[in-house]
Amino acid sequence: MSTAEILVIDDEIQIRKLLEITLQSNGYKVAKAGTAKEGLSAAATSASDLIILDLGLPDENGQVVLKKLREWYSKPVIILSVKNSEEEIVSALDNGANDYLLKPFRTAELLARIRSVLRNSMLSESSPTIKYEDFEINFSTRTIKKNNEPVKFTATQYELLALFVKNEGKVLTHQYILREIWGADYITQSQYLRVFVAQLRKKIEKDPDRPKYIVTESGVGYRFVAKELE
């Protein structure tokens, strides 16, 4: 695996230090910046493959920094934020962040998120069929099979599952999903989404009450988590 370079933008020197040690010991190259200004210039000059951005920067609002970055930076951005700011996370995701982590975060979680967004950004055209442990989805025939038996899905159920699968590992906000599946007029009608997610879980999860594939991100949205079978 080629060493990816990660730019850490955080005003706390201890967090920068911690991330540097964690990331380097896991084979990543690390660049650091302590302010929004430094961060933006570092992003422009370095060849970073991913940015970890703290939303609470001293010189500029993290959301503004994110928007500025997204004017030209197309590689993944992971947001660091504190709890109780779900709204902030949702708007960061709307502003183009690929994922988020709440402080305090666990190292394993951080590394998993990094791997996931890096893999997604390198993903080229996907094949027509993707197989998972409990089901497989075929994009060309728009069908889902479970234990090699076709399972009946309504058009909306299929669209929703396909949206999740195509965004594997990525957190999708409620509003985003509602807009994609039902249209812009429905972004406040979250009750539909709750019901359809419950239906999907019943169809694809082994234990719908302890979902492995469609995971709830409290107050934010859902994340499709799965290891694709070779």
């Binding site: 779900e86 009450d209 107050g219």
Partner: protein
Amino acid sequence: MVFNSFALLNGVRKRNQYILSILIVCLVSVICFTFSAYIGYEVAFILLLTLSYIAMFFDILPVLLAAVLTGLIWDYFFLQPRFAFDINKPEDVITLSIYFIVALVNAVLTFKIRQIEKTIRIKEKKEQTLELYDTLLSSLSHELRTPISIIVGATDNLLDDGAVISAADKKGLLQEISIAALRLNQQVENLLNTSRLESGFLQLKKDWCDINELLHQVILKLDTELKGHIVHIDVKENLPLFKIDRGLMEQAFYNIIHNAALYTPTNSAISISADCTNEKLVVVIEDDGPGFPESEINKVFDKFYRLKNSISGGTGLGLSIVKGFIEAHEGQIELGKSILGGAKFTITIPAEYISL
């Protein structure tokens, strides 16, 4: 009974006190007047008694008004010559003067006593606040400093180049640091939630919520803590979606179930059920642990309250946060005894719901 009416009349507004004292005086006077053939000079005492009663309950100004009024009424209607303010006999002048003095002294004394009572009440309240503050400080300093000491101590050991620590011990110290940090985080979370409630600016962000999913997610979050427990979740089939603040309710359920996991022995059963009763969301969380002593049930939702002899690790904020978040939803929480033998929390939330 007297105390009840005291409290009742204390609440009567000043303007109403004037009207009421006039009414009472007039009423008593009319009664006395009707029976004036049977009672003579003693009317003065009856009126004085009425005045004393008014003085017990009302503010000083309405009492003074009543004093003047009774004096005038006595003079005009009862003193010879009747139906005139004239006073002929010198002893009547003395009686009337004494009457006024007694009435005024009565009013002023009662007023003073009430002032003193008020000062004492304020002082008591201050002392209570101070006591609460002391409890907060001692609880906080203990609950925050313990994990900090563990972190500082363990890292000192690990950083000491001269110390010989086995690999197993090293791992042990690191685990202690990790546990201490998580515990600190939990305490900070509680403090933040308490200050959110205290600020009075808690704004609910309501959205449709799948209660079954919510409860399962709380259980999932408490996976480690619930490892030695048997958890049973029973959500009614086709339970409607409820419009609630998911974040707050998740925290509320988390705190209750976390408590249950913490304060019941290993292998205890925890049963969680959810239903829609009388258009309200009803969630019951019960266990077969030791439960709460009957005498302490009323206090468990108080801030900083901790059961006697309870194990360390809490600030006594958890259940007060639960109550605060549920009341923010205009809901109720009740603690009782479960048929399983332990504690039974019943949460009732009136919320918009939708069946799809």
